[in-house]
Every structure is written in structure tokens, then in C-alpha cells.
């Protein structure tokens, strides 16, 4: 008890000191950057640090940073027991009371829903079709987010259990009855990216509409794609036609969005591409064409393209090799001695 109070006091003092140091550091930074220290925000701090301490370190977590101490030092729980040393929470001795409370609540909700379902069946009623939960645009909190919410460290297994229980709860026919409980642990996605800012096509001197997509990236390839409408299905890649690619697979990839939208004979495509291999270049052009075609198709087709994954940028890159092992994931052959 006394030890706890001492530790809490120590922590408070430490935080106060850190806060003080942070404020002073912020003022110094503002002076160095020649700006007003009073209106210097965290965003300006990040910018200043990036400017004054440029770093090319691969791992962003290892680069220099200056964040407010509340973000750097994880939040600690307040006292969980009374003067006599008796814990407030009934699950205190599990070690992770908030997490297990969450599991208990979920299980209880499942039982309640099942009882409710039994009741409805006995009355011979049917479930309300409008009450269904719409979970399409949201997803479960990630492990880090859940840890922050619960102020407890979780293992991977515990996080999996959380997901399992919640999925079970959601799968029940009357899950809309505990909507509030479920939505506490779901995070909404950012709104539909593909529908935002569809560029209006410009017109060239022949009166044909055209849209240019810059920065078409895939693997190490980059380039730009111009789509002209109306056209006759002419494809130009770096001054050549589709035979720029020698293998069939890459050619198929380039015409994939055109075939999908049914515009293969109605638009002309022109692209400049460099870097990477045939597969990466074809992937970059595929994305560029799909992205540019947004200006020439209707809303239904736009949705179909999104569901087909054509509008998703493939941002995956080659994973780096790690020291002490022969590849990115591959480990040396195990030897007894």
C-alpha cells in the first residue's frame, strides 16, 4: 500500500518534470525555427524535428522524435484498491481485470441473446429483417488500440480470443440488440476513397476528353497513364503497342480494367513507365488505367471496380533481408551442434 502510494507520487513527479522539459524544448524549437513559441503546435514540432534532425533510418520508430510525455509514456491505472488494500474490481486477481470483464460481458450478452431467441421461437415470431447490424464499413479495434482502451497489455492469444468472442456475438441473429456494446470495439473506416475527387476530364485540341494519372506505382515500377475518350482501343506503352510486354500474363494485366469495364474499344491508352520488371510495370499500368477510367464510367461500374479490387493500390514492397538470416523470413538450417 505504502509502496504503491510512493510509486504513484514518484510517477506524478516524473510526469510533471517531463511535461516541463517538453514545454521548454518546444519553446527552444520555436525560437530555432524563428516562429512564435506561443502558437507552436505538435505538428510544427514534428516538422521542426524532421528539418533539424534529418534521418534516413529505415525503421520510423528509431528516428528522432519529440512527442508530449503523455504519448511517450503509456497511461497508468489509478489505484485499484481502497485504504485497507482490498481491490475494487471483482476480477482484480486475474491480473487483467478490464480485459476479462470485457470477455465476461460479451459472453453474458451472447447468453442473453440466445435466451431472447428462444423466447421469440416459442412465440413463433420471425426476426426483424431491418434490425440487422451493418458492419461493412467498420472493423475490430487492432491490438494496440484495444490495449490503449483497456490500459492493459494483451498477448496475441488474448487478442485472438477477443476477436473470436466478438465474432460469435455478431453472428447471432439478434445481435443488433447489443449494438452499443459491439460498436464500442469497432472502428470505422475512412470514407470511400475511390469516389472522392474524381477528376473532370480535360479536352485536347482535337476535342477529345483525356485524363492523366501520374504516379502509378507497383513494386519498383513507376509511370503515368493517359486515357483518351472516344478512341479505338489503341494502347501505347513507351511508344510501342501491347507487344512491349513479351509475356501473355503482363498483357492480360494491362487490358484487365478495360475488359472489366467493357471500354476496350472505346478509349485510347497511352503510358510511360520505367523501373521494375514486366510484372510490376504491368501492375502499375493496370492500376493507372483503372484509376483513370473512373472519369468515364457510371457509379455502378465504379462500385463493381472497387469490389473487384481494381481501385486498390498495391502498396506491398519487397521485404528487407534481416541480418543473421539468409532472407527476409528464411532462417538458417537448424543444426543440433
Amino acid at each position: 500500500m505504502r509502496a504503491y502510494l510512493e510509486r504513484a507520487k514518484e510517477h506524478d513527479e516524473f510526469m510533471k518534470k517531463q511535461q516541463f522539459e517538453y514545454n521548454i524544448g518546444k519553446r527552444h524549437l520555436a525560437n530555432m525555427m524563428g516562429e512564435d513559441p506561443e502558437t507552436f503546435t505538435q505538428k510544427d514540432v514534428d516538422r521542426a524535428i524532421e528539418y533539424l534532425f534529418p534521418s534516413g533510418i529505415y525503421d520510423p520508430a528509431a528516428r528522432p522524435l519529440m512527442k508530449p510525455p503523455e504519448e511517450v509514456f503509456p497511461a497508468r491505472k489509478a489505484a485499484e484498491f481502497d485504504e485497507a488494500g482490498r481491490p475494487h474490481h471483482y476480477l482484480f486477481y486475474t491480473g487483467k481485470p478490464n480485459f476479462f470483464k470485457l470477455l465476461y460481458d460479451a459472453a453474458e450478452n451472447i447468453q442473453l441473446l440466445q435466451q431472447f431467441e428462444d423466447k421469440v421461437i416459442r412465440k413463433k415470431a420471425t426476426p426483424d429483417p431491418n434490425g440487422k447490424l451493418d458492419l461493412n464499413a467498420t472493423f475490430w479495434l487492432t491490438k494496440d488500440q484495444l490495449e490503449q482502451l483497456l490500459v492493459e497489455k494483451l498477448t496475441d492469444l488474448e487478442y485472438d480470443n477477443f476477436k473470436l468472442v466478438m465474432e460469435r456475438l455478431v453472428s447471432l441473429p439478434y445481435s443488433y440488440r447489443c449494438k452499443d456494446f459491439i460498436e464500442k470495439f469497432r472502428k470505422s473506416l475512412t470514407s470511400q476513397k475511390f469516389a472522392l475527387e474524381i477528376p473532370k476530364p480535360s479536352y485536347d485540341d482535337q476535342g477529345r476528353a483525356f485524363v492523366t494519372t501520374y504516379e502509378c506505382l507497383r513494386k519498383k515500377a513507376r509511370g503515368d497513364v493517359t486515357i483518351r475518350s472516344p478512341g479505338t482501343g489503341l494502347i501505347t506503352i513507351n511508344g510501342k503497342d501491347l507487344t512491349y510486354f513479351e509475356d501473355t500474363q503482363s498483357r492480360e494485366q494491362v487490358i484487365f480494367p478495360l475488359i472489366f469495364t467493357g471500354l476496350e474499344n472505346k478509349v485510347d491508352v497511352e503510358c510511360n513507365i520505367e523501373g521494375g520488371g514486366p510484372s510490376g510495370q504491368a501492375g502499375a499500368i493496370r492500376w493507372g488505367i483503372a484509376w483513370g477510367l473512373r472519369s468515364f464510367v457510371d457509379k455502378d461500374m465504379l462500385e463493381a471496380m472497387q469490389v473487384a479490387g481494381l481501385l486498390t493500390r498495391d502498396h506491398r514492397r519487397r521485404e528487407r533481408k534481416k541480418p543473421g538470416q539468409p532472407g527476409a523470413r528464411k532462417k538458417p538450417t537448424w543444426k543440433r551442434r
Binding site: 517531463q18 522539459e21 517538453y22 521548454i24 524544448g25 527552444h28 524549437l29 530555432m32 534532425f53 529505415y58 525503421d59 520510423p60 520508430a61 528509431a62 528522432p64 522524435l65 519529440m66 512527442k67 511517450v72 509514456f73 451493418d134 461493412n136 464499413a137 472493423f139 475490430w140 494496440d144 473506416l189 470511400q192 509475356d247 501473355t248 500474363q249 492480360e252 494485366q253 487490358i255 484487365f256 475488359i259 472489366f260 510484372s279 504491368a282 501492375g283 492500376w287 455502378d300 465504379l302 462500385e303 463493381a304 472497387q306 469490389v307 473487384a308 479490387g309 481494381l310 486498390t312 493500390r313 498495391d314 502498396h315 506491398r316 514492397r317 519487397r318 521485404e319 528487407r320 527476409a328
Partner: protein, 240 residues
């Protein structure tokens, strides 16, 4: 000059402060690493639905606009919505492939298809009556589908050790493994040939045989079924 030195000292002080802050943070924040360039998609990304018939199904059920709010992975570099794309053919190409030489594997399978087509067209022209002609399948893709369907085993033997003796215990087989075995057997039969015969030729013959429910592969499947039947007495070891 003095002004400059002052500034430098000032700067040093700031830097020490900053670095202390930075060191604290790296020590205290979690050790989980994330890469500046992700190498995979998060698990809430769904698999894309890009084939024409699957899309038509979605439109029929009016699920399209509901689904469009969720993120989707991009289709892989070998997948297209073209009518020529077939997942099973792609699977076979991947099984034929060695050392990542996909272009070569694809050309071999296509050559085999060409051979199948040639043989079937020859048969078609040799047939005299219209009934005989209508029985001959000309599409190599159909032949492949039929061949794989005919060589898929329904049961498998798994070794289970009981009392120091290993029994071959028959049991059900998953759809995926049965497909895998069918393709593996077809390719093993095709590779079991003279050196003078080319792979596409032999593979074409194996496909035609299997599609006709005859040949090495179908015999192998029947052998396995016979063995499973013979080992019926051990079946209880699966759960005891």
C-alpha cells in the same frame, strides 16, 4: 561572434534535451516493429470478387453497393476477369512450374492444350456419324476439367500408430487435398515417359485418357479406393 557562440551553446542544450526525450521514448515505447513499406495487407481487407459470373451474382442480390464501402485487396498479377482465365488451369500451371519459371510452365500447358485440340479435331473428322461427332469434346479446358474430376480420389489412407504397429487407416479426404492429389498424379503420370517424348505430348495423352475414365491415373485412384476398402477393418482407429 559572441552571438554565434551563444547560439551554438544554446543549440547544444536544446539538442541534449531533445535527445533525452527521444531516448526515453525509444526505451519506453513498445518493441513491436512496423515497416515503412508494408509487405502485406491488413486482415480486414477482403478478397476481390472480379470474375464476371461472381459479379453478376452480387448484382442480383443487390450486395454490390453495400460491399463497395469495404476495402478489397487488388487481384493478384495472374488473375483477370477475362473469359480465358480459369483458376484450375492456373493451378495446373503452378504445379508444372519449377524454380519460378512461370512463362515456361504456361507455354508447356498451352502446348499440351494445343495437342489435345489437334487430336480431338482429328478424331472429329474421322468420325462418320453425327452422333459420334457430337460425343467428342473439342475444348481442351473441358477435357482438363473432366480429367481432374475423374482422377479426384474420394478416400485417403493415413498412417496411424497403435500399439507399435502403423496401420493404414482409410478416411474422408478434403476437397482441396483431393484436387491436389488429382493434379499431382496427372503430372507424375505425364513425367513418367521416354526421354524422346516431350512433356506436352505425354500430358495431352494423359489428359485424354483420364477424361475418358481410363489410363494410369484413374487406375491409381481405383487402386487407392480398393486399398481403402481392404483396410475397412482399421477404420475405427481414426477415433479410438
Amino acid at each position: 561572434m559572441r552571438n554565434l557562440t551563444n547560439k551554438i551553446i544554446f543549440f547544444n542544450r536544446c539538442q541534449s534535451q531533445l535527445s533525452r526525450c527521444a531516448f526515453n521514448s525509444t526505451a519506453k515505447t513498445t518493441q513491436t516493429r512496423f515497416y515503412s513499406r508494408p509487405t502485406s495487407f491488413p486482415d480486414y481487407y477482403q478478397n476481390p470478387i472480379f470474375r464476371k459470373e461472381d459479379q453478376a451474382k452480387l448484382i442480383e442480390n443487390n450486395d454490390l453497393s453495400k460491399l463497395a464501402t469495404t476495402p478489397f485487396r487488388p487481384p493478384a498479377s495472374y488473375e483477370t476477369s477475362s473469359v480465358y482465365h480459369d483458376p484450375i488451369v492456373n493451378k495446373v500451371i503452378n504445379h508444372v512450374m519449377e524454380d519460378g519459371k512461370k512463362q515456361l510452365a504456361r507455354s508447356l500447358v498451352e502446348k499440351a492444350f494445343e495437342n489435345v485440340k489437334r487430336i480431338q479435331i482429328e478424331r472429329y473428322h474421322l468420325a462418320t456419324t453425327p452422333e459420334e461427332k457430337s460425343k467428342i469434346i473439342l475444348s481442351p479446358k473441358d477435357i482438363l476439367h473432366r480429367a481432374i474430376e475423374n482422377s479426384k480420389p474420394l478416400l485417403q489412407l493415413s498412417p496411424i500408430k497403435r500399439g507399435g504397429i502403423t496401420y493404414q487407416v482409410p478416411g474422408p479426404i478434403t476437397e482441396k487435398r483431393s484436387l491436389f492429389l488429382a493434379i499431382k498424379w496427372l503430372l507424375e503420370a505425364a513425367n513418367d515417359k521416354d526421354r524422346t517424348v516431350h512433356f506436352p505430348e505425354q500430358f495431352a495423352w494423359e489428359l485424354l485418357d483420364a477424361a475418358n475414365n481410363t489410363g494410369k491415373v484413374v487406375k491409381r485412384k481405383q487402386d487407392l479406393h480398393r486399398q481403402c476398402e481392404a483396410n475397412r477393418a482399421y477404420a475405427h482407429y481414426r477415433w479410438q
